[in-house]
C-alpha cells in the first residue's frame, strides 16, 4: 500500500510537469484559483478564447485527448497517464471544461460508429479545440427516463427530417457539432425505436435558447428542431440501434464525473479557522468540531476512494458503477456545507455579491449551485438505483413500460 508512482509513471509525471511549467497560462492563475462552483471571475467569451488557446497548445505538443488514438489527434495514453496528466494540470484543467463532453463522450461515440473519413475530418478539430461539440439526449419529458424521448426523425430519401426538442444541452449556443438521439419508430418498445445522428449545429432548422438556472448562469440550453434535414451518412449505428450507441456515450460520462468531486469541505475548514463567535474561536465550539469531524470523514472518504480507483486504473482495471458514490455524496455534502457556512456567517450569509459577501461569496455560490449537482448527470435517486442494482445486485424496479409500444406508454400531460 503506497502512493508512489511506478518508475514509468514517475518519468511520465516529470515530463508532464516540466511541459506544464514551461507552457501553462500562468496569467490566469488568480482567476482560476478564485473561481467557484458555477461562477468564474471572467466573462464567458474571454474564458472560451483562453480555453481554445490552451487546448491548441496542448494538442500541438501532444497532450490533448490523452486517451484517443494519435491518428485522430490524441496521445494514445494509458488511463493512468491520463490521471497523472490531470493531477499535474491542476486548475488549468478548468479551462478544458467546455471540451469535456465533446472529447470525453462524443469523440468515443464517433470512433465507435462513424466512418474513418468522417473521423479523420472532424476529430482532430475537436482535439485541437477548434470545434466544440455537444450531446443532445435529454428532453423535457425524458430526463431520468432518457429512452422516453420524443424527438422524431423520419426518413425522406437519403435524408432524415427531424422535429422535436432537446433540453439541458451544455454549450449548444457556441457548439459546432453535436450528437443527437431521436425516435425513428414509436410503434416498438421504447428502447428499440431510437436512432443516433451527428449534426452540424449551424444547420438551418436548429434553434438554441439558453436556460437560466437558479444561480443566474445559463450553462444549458433548449434546442429546437424544425424540419432539420440530416443526411443518412450522418447516422451513427443502425436504425433502431440508437440506445446501444447512447450507452457507449453515457458509459464515458460516468467515468468523467467519477473523478474528484468538489465538496466545499476545504473551504469550510479554512473559513472556520478564521472565524470567531463573539470573541471565542469558532473552531473551539463543540458543535462546529462535530460537523468538521463528520464532514471530514465524508470528504476524506471520497478522496481515498478516488485513490483506490486510480490504483485500479494503474493496474489496468476499469472502475465500475461504484464510482457513482462520488457525486451522490459530494452533491448533498456541498449543499449541507453551504447552508451551514451561511448559518455561521449570520445575517451576512445572505449576501451573494462576490465583493461584499464573506469568504468571497463562495458558500453562497455553492448554495445556489448544489441543488443542480444533485440532479444533473443522474439524480441522487438514480445513483442509488445504480448502486443497488449494479453493485449490490438487487432486482430492478418493476417496469410497466417494458414490451409496450412507445406510443402506448403512459406519459402524463
Amino acid at each position: 500500500m503506497n502512493f508512489d508512482d511506478t518508475p514509468e509513471e514517475a518519468k511520465f509525471r516529470a515530463e508532464v510537469r516540466a511541459w506544464i511549467d514551461a507552457n501553462a497560462p500562468k496569467h490566469l492563475d488568480e482567476m482560476l484559483s478564485t473561481s467557484t462552483m458555477g461562477r468564474s471571475n471572467i466573462d464567458p467569451e474571454a474564458f472560451r478564447a483562453e480555453s481554445k488557446a490552451w487546448q491548441k497548445k496542448k494538442q500541438e505538443a501532444g497532450w490533448a485527448c490523452m486517451q484517443w488514438p494519435t491518428e485522430f489527434g490524441g496521445r494514445g495514453a494509458t488511463p493512468i497517464e491520463r490521471v497523472i496528466w490531470s493531477q499535474e494540470e491542476g486548475h488549468y484543467g478548468i479551462l478544458s471544461g467546455i471540451f469535456l463532453i465533446g472529447q470525453g463522450m462524443c469523440g468515443p461515440t464517433m470512433m465507435g460508429f462513424a466512418t474513418k473519413e468522417q473521423n479523420e475530418e472532424l476529430l482532430p478539430r475537436l482535439a485541437s479545440g477548434e470545434d466544440i461539440w455537444c450531446q443532445m439526449f435529454s428532453e423535457p419529458s425524458a430526463g431520468s427516463d432518457l429512452a422516453g424521448l420524443r424527438t422524431r426523425a423520419e426518413k425522406d430519401g437519403d435524408e432524415w427530417v427531424i422535429n422535436g426538442q432537446k433540453i439541458w444541452t451544455s454549450g449548444a449556443h457556441y457548439c459546432d457539432w453535436g450528437i443527437l438521439l431521436t425516435r425513428t419508430d414509436p410503434t416498438v418498445a421504447k428502447h428499440k425505436g431510437l436512432t443516433m445522428f451527428f449534426v452540424d449545429m449551424k444547420s438551418p432548422g436548429i434553434e438554441v435558447r439558453p436556460i437560466k438556472q437558479v444561480n443566474g448562469n445559463s450553462d444549458f440550453n433548449e434546442v429546437f428542431f424544425t424540419d432539420l434535414r440530416v443526411s443518412d451518412a450522418q447516422r451513427l449505428g443502425d436504425v433502431g440501434q440508437g440506445w446501444i450507441v447512447a450507452l457507449t456515450t453515457l458509459m464515458n460520462e460516468r467515468l468523467a464525473i467519477g473523478g474528484g468531486m468538489a465538496t466545499g469541505f476545504p473551504e469550510l475548514l479554512s473559513f472556520v479557522q478564521g472565524l470567531d463567535f463573539d470573541g471565542t474561536p469558532a473552531i473551539k465550539d463543540g458543535a462546529v468540531r462535530e460537523r468538521l469531524a463528520d464532514w471530514h470523514v465524508l470528504s476524506a472518504g471520497l478522496k481515498h476512494t478516488s485513490s483506490r480507483m486510480i490504483s485500479a486504473l494503474s493496474k489496468g482495471e476499469t472502475p465500475g458503477p461504484e464510482a457513482s458514490i462520488g457525486k451522490l455524496v459530494a452533491g448533498s455534502l456541498m449543499q449541507e456545507i453551504s447552508l451551514y457556512a451561511a448559518e455561521l456567517q449570520e445575517q451576512t450569509g445572505a449576501i451573494i455579491d462576490t465583493e461584499t459577501a464573506p469568504f468571497g461569496g463562495r458558500f453562497q455560490a455553492m448554495m445556489l449551485r448544489s441543488p443542480a449537482t444533485r440532479i444533473e448527470g443522474g439524480t441522487d435517486e438514480i445513483l442509488r438505483n445504480i448502486i443497488a442494482e449494479r453493485v449490490l445486485g438487487l432486482p430492478a424496479d418493476v417496469r410497466v413500460d417494458k414490451d409496450v409500444a412507445f406510443k402506448d406508454v403512459p406519459k402524463g400531460a
Binding site: F277, I352, I375, V400
Partner: protein, 376 residues
C-alpha cells in the same frame, strides 16, 4: 383543550389565502425578484393595509384592529405561503413589536399608527456584519440624540423610515453598554443595497451619520429588549416559514403526480414518495411547534422563550428541508429560473438568516432547557 385556531381565525385564514392567491401570484414575486430598483411591492402592501392585516395585533388606540397574536400568526402563515414581497415582517413583527414592548406612550402614538397605515415602514437593525449582536460586536453609538455607525444587511433597510437599532450608549464590553434607539430615517441615514439570496425581500447596509434618534426603552436594556423582540418575531416568522414549507411540499406532491417516468407517475416511486413523506413529517412537526409558540405568545406565557426557540428552529429546518427537496422532486426543471421552486429555496434561506441563525437559536433553546430542568 382547543389546541388549534378557532373558527373565526380559520375564516381569516381562508380570506387571507384567497386574497393573496389573487393579489400575490408568483409573477408579483418575480417582479420584485428580477428588479433591483424595486424594494418591495407597494401596491400589494397598500392592499394588505386595507385588509387590516398590518394592524391585526396592534391595539385600537394605536390604529390597529386589536385582534391579537393568533390572528397575526394566521396572516403570517399566508404571507409565507405566497412569498409576499413586502416589508410586513420588518415593519410589523420587528419594529411594531419593539414599540409595543419598549416604547413610551408618545413613541407608540407617534409611530404605530403610521406602521399600521403603511405611511411608515419600520425595521430592526441589530447586526454590524461581524456575528451575533453583542457589546463586543457593536460600534454604532447614540450620543446627544444622534446616531453614528453602520449596520449590515438590514432587512428592508432601504425602504424603512423608522429603524429600531441596537446601539452603544456607554463604553465597555458589558451588556449594559447597549440600548435600543428609535431612529428617524428621514435624514442622516444612507442605505446601500446588497444583493442577497432572496431579492424578493431586499436588504441593505445602513450608514448612520448623525441621524436623529431617541432611546427606546431604558438605557442599558438593549440586549434584553432585543431578546424579547426576537422571541415574538421568531414565533411570527415560524408561521411565515410554515406557510412556505407547506406550499413547497404541495408543489412537490403536485409535480410528483403529474410527471411520468418509465411509464408511471414519479410519485409512485418510493424514493420520491418517502422523500415527500419526510417533508410532510417535518412540516407537521413545525406546525405543531409553531402552534405552541402562538399559544405562548398570545397568552404571554412563561414558556415563551422556549416555545419561540423551538418554533424558530423547527420552522427554519422544515422550510429549508421542504424547499430543498421540492427542487429535488422537480428534477432538472427544479433548478431552472423559470420554475418557482427556487423562489421557496431562496426565501427559506433568507428567513433562516434574518433573525439570527439556527446556531444562535439552538443555543437559546438549550439554555431554556437547562433552566426548565433546573426548575423542575
Amino acid at each position: 383543550m382547543e389546541f388549534d385556531f378557532n373558527e373565526d381565525q380559520k375564516m381569516l385564514r381562508d380570506t387571507a389565502r384567497k386574497f393573496l392567491e389573487a393579489e400575490c401570484a408568483p409573477d408579483k414575486v418575480r417582479a420584485i425578484l428580477d428588479d433591483d430598483s424595486k424594494t418591495y411591492d407597494e401596491g400589494l402592501y397598500a392592499k394588505l393595509v386595507e385588509m387590516g392585516f398590518t394592524g391585526a395585533a396592534i391595539p385600537e388606540e394605536f390604529g390597529g384592529l386589536g385582534l391579537g397574536y393568533l390572528e397575526l400568526c394566521v396572516i403570517a402563515e399566508e404571507l409565507g405561503r405566497a412569498l409576499a414581497p413586502v416589508p410586513f415582517a420588518s415593519s410589523i413583527f420587528l419594529a411594531a413589536e419593539a414599540l409595543l414592548i419598549a416604547g413610551s406612550d408618545a413613541q407608540k402614538a407617534a409611530w404605530l399608527p403610521k406602521l399600521v397605515s403603511g405611511e411608515a415602514i419600520g425595521t430592526l437593525a441589530m447586526s454590524e456584519g461581524n456575528g451575533v449582536p453583542s457589546a463586543r460586536n457593536t460600534d454604532t453609538r447614540l450620543e446627544g440624540g444622534k446616531v453614528n455607525g453602520v449596520k449590515a444587511v438590514v432587512p428592508d433597510g432601504a425602504s424603512a423610515n423608522l429603524i429600531v437599532a441596537l446601539v452603544r450608549t456607554s463604553s465597555g464590553d458589558s451588556a449594559k453598554s447597549l440600548s435600543l434607539a428609535l431612529v428617524d430615517a428621514s435624514s442622516g441615514v444612507t442605505a446601500t443595497s446588497q444583493h442577497t439570496v432572496d431579492p424578493s425581500r431586499k436588504m441593505a447596509d445602513l450608514s448612520f451619520d448623525g441621524a436623529s434618534a431617541e432611546l427606546l426603552g431604558g438605557e442599558g436594556e438593549g440586549l434584553s429588549l432585543l431578546e424579547q423582540i426576537l422571541d415574538r418575531a421568531a414565533v411570527l416568522t415560524a408561521f411565515e416559514q410554515l406557510g412556505g414549507a407547506t406550499r413547497a411540499l404541495e408543489m412537490g406532491v403536485d409535480y410528483a403526480k403529474e410527471r411520468f417516468a418509465f411509464g408511471r407517475q414519479i410519485g409512485s416511486y418510493q424514493a420520491i414518495k418517502h422523500m415527500l413523506a419526510d417533508m410532510y413529517v417535518s412540516q407537521e412537526l413545525a406546525r405543531s411547534n409553531a402552534y405552541y409558540g402562538a399559544w405562548a405568545l398570545s397568552t404571554d406565557a412563561a414558556e415563551l422563550p422556549l416555545a419561540a426557540a423551538t418554533a424558530r428552529v423547527s420552522g427554519t429546518q422544515a422550510f429549508q428541508h421542504c424547499s430543498k427537496n421540492n427542487i429535488q422532486t422537480h428534477g432538472g426543471m427544479g433548478f431552472t429560473w423559470e420554475v418557482d421552486a427556487h423562489l421557496y429555496y431562496r426565501r427559506s434561506n433568507h428567513l433562516a438568516l434574518t433573525l439570527g441563525s439556527l446556531r444562535q437559536w439552538k443555543d437559546k433553546l438549550a439554555t431554556q432547557l437547562e433552566k426548565q430542568n433546573q426548575a423542575a
